[in-house]
Assembly symmetry: C2
């Protein structure tokens, strides 16, 4: 079993979220759509740099873009965010359940020893 499509999508999503500027863009887009210029405004970097960040987010599927006059409004894609959450949750849940079973098992052993 090699590298799957799903792997590549997760790569792209987590890579996109690993940069503080891009995470900030995601947070700001959760408050509503915005253009590249609007998104670039608060950062101490060129609009081209922000445009590149947006491209990373777009290619990861975390955001999508429309066309309106000469602007390219960006919007969040909650389904992609949900996919990332699902992946993490599965590992977390599996481990936690394992811990619960272990505790139960230890409790059983303890009970047996006391009787």
């Amino acid at each position: 079993m090699g590298i799957t499509i799903e792997d590549q999508r997760l790569d792209a999503m987590f890579t996109a979220l690993s940069d503080p500027t891009r995470r900030d863009i995601v947070v700001r887009l959760s408050a509503g759509e915005a253009t590249v210029k609007e998104l670039a405004e608060p950062y101490a970097m060129s609009m081209q740099a922000v445009s590149q960040h947006i491209r990373v987010l777009e290619r990861s599927g975390l955001i999508s873009r429309g066309r309106h006059r000469q602007t390219r409004p960006c919007r969040l894609e909650p389904a992609a965010l949900e996919a990332a959450v699902s992946w993490i949750e599965e590992s977390r849940r599996t481990w936690s359940e394992r811990m619960d079973r272990l505790e139960t098992h230890l409790a059983c052993l303890q009970k047996g020893a006391n009787q």
Copy 2:
């Protein structure tokens, strides 16, 4: 408001999860503790390389390590995974709620127009 400690933690976590080998290690650790050698076995790379991946995961807080004889067993830290999930969920929920309100608003306008 500059770069916070929380930002740095999220950086480390999402960076750690952006590599397929490291994600695979996380999945495998969700099934139980493992040593560096055990984790390295299935991959076509040196144990040193895997050791470096594990270090990235450890520094991100996603895993922790013990000492047992000459091994350094790795275990998942579900609390850190939960922190990553929480961050994503907040953005996703905010956007989704916004969409719901928008739909409600549009429905109200529609209703008003029909009457």
